[in-house]
């Protein structure tokens, strides 16, 4: 697929997806959503990719749903079923992000609003520029929270704070986001790209299979009971215990050297 509204590059095991409509703060058009989904699919199946970084071009990360496009749709076809739009446009992407076995790092370079905020929350690790802000803007346009934000937000910052944020729709600045655990780390704006790539490279050299198990186990545990989570861990461990990476790590430990992981 040809990309016009994102860019996709792969370098040294790191795939970088850049939302690329800077003139509209990377608002997510239908086309961008399709391209983003395609890039995720490509990165998931490319064995040369071990880590995915998602960022935005220009000043913002993403302003969320493209309201201009939405208005145009309404003019053309009348009232839209927004739920159907979600099912087709955003829900598959959120599930794709969570289910892809590779770590996804959101490198939040500016404002992340609405569904743009959701993309951050569906990422596994989040680095933010000190100029970043997070806006759960849904109520401000009279809409219900969507694209997973009602699921992710209370799991990060609790019930009351989530509803506080969703009611007011006010921006959460980078420092507050760090304090609330919405992001792993805030860095100076000019250091964001470097810090994101450094983190991505470090992960790309690590035991990618073990990372995929960790991602799956944590996602599973968020939605299941302790008994189920323990059983799931045991199942994954049966698989992990048979990998070459595990044997290599054990051998390296005994030989007192650094292990070389192959992702097998």
């Amino acid at each position: 697929m040809e990309y016009a509204e994102i860019t996709y590059t792969v370098d040294g095991g790191v795939a970088r997806i850049t939302l690329n409509r800077p003139s509209v703060l990377n608002a997510i058009s239908d086309r961008m959503a399709r391209e983003f989904s395609d890039a995720l699919r490509v990165s998931a199946s490319d064995t040369g990719v071990r880590v995915v970084v998602v960022t935005g071009a220009g000043r913002g990360f993403s302003a969320g749903e493209d309201l201009n496009e939405l208005m145009e749709h309404r003019r053309r076809v009348g009232a839209l079923d927004m739920g159907e739009r979600l099912r087709k446009k955003y829900n598959p992407i959120i599930l794709q992000m969570v289910s892809t076995p590779k770590p996804i790092i959101a490198s939040v370079n500016g404002v992340a609003a609405g569904a743009g905020f959701s993309l951050v929350l569906a990422s596994d690790l989040r680095l933010a520029s000190d100029k970043a802000s997070f806006i759960p803007a849904f109520s401000r346009v009279g809409l219900a929270p969507d694209s997973g934000i009602s699921f992710f937000l209370p799991r990060v910052m609790g019930y009351a704070r989530s509803l506080g944020a969703l009611f007011t729709g006010e921006p959460i600045d980078a420092q507050t986001a760090e304090r609330l655990g919405l992001v792993n780390r805030v860095v100076k704006h000019e250091d964001l790209e470097g810090a994101s790539l450094e983190l991505a490279r470090r992960l790309a050299e690590g035991p990618s299979l073990a990372y995929s198990y960790a991602k799956r186990a944590v996602n599973y545990a968020l939605n299941h009971s302790l008994e189920e989570a323990l059983e799931y861990e045991a199942s994954l461990q049966s698989v992990a215990g048979r990998t070459e990476d595990h044997s290599e790590a054990l051998t390296a430990f005994i030989e007192k050297r650094k292990p070389t992981f192959k992702g097998k």
């Binding site: 289910s99 799931y232 994954l236 049966s238 698989v239």
Partner: protein, 251 residues
Amino acid sequence: MVEKRNRVGLITLNRPSVRNALSTQLMRELLAALESLAGDNEVGAVVITGGPKFFSAGADIKEMSEKTLVEAYLADMGRFWDAVGDYPKPLIAAVNGYAYGGGLEMVLACDIVVCSEDAKFGQPEINIGVFPGAGGTQRLPRIVGKYRAMEMILTGRPISAQEAYMLGLANRVVPAESVLDHALGIASEIASKSPIAVRLAKEAVKAAFNTTLDAGLLFEHRLFYMAFGSEDKVEGMAAFLEKREPKFKGR
């Protein structure tokens, strides 16, 4: 493909190029494999899998599209599944990926279902102008209930592993890589029991779907007393009282 591991038979549907579409040829081979394992006293349970990517996409539509009414009637593919449903030994379906149409009907004819997190179950026949004809309309509602079965069969929409689990269509949802392990684990656990008791128990449970409660209870009680005639019953109870592991011989 048929293998034996410990006391478990493992049958792998092996037409990956057509996503394990269930051709007449495949069904014949499957039945032959089941039959040989049925007669093998060393086998206590059988696992059916489609391999790591998909269980089965369902009937071979190319083959079916060329069939007339008379040909379909004479070939009577449905009886293949009846044979699966009547199988005397426990059948465990190990489902990775999707089980659609005839693939799901095969799952429904099994006794225990283990599936991967990304498994999908569906009866999409309605989309090609027919409907499930290999047990789906009868077995599915008995498992998931009338309304859910109607929705699946009339819309053709597949359900996820998690939904299948909640509906009782899957015993366990496990990571994709360990589906076969789990299925083999359950199978070998069953294979360690008295084969006579296992067979009687399966017959009794199956009767629950086929008869009134009174007749079913009567059937159960009769089979239960039958179990008392086995050496395995004597050994099992003796071992329990002597606090040791039983050694079942299938007699």
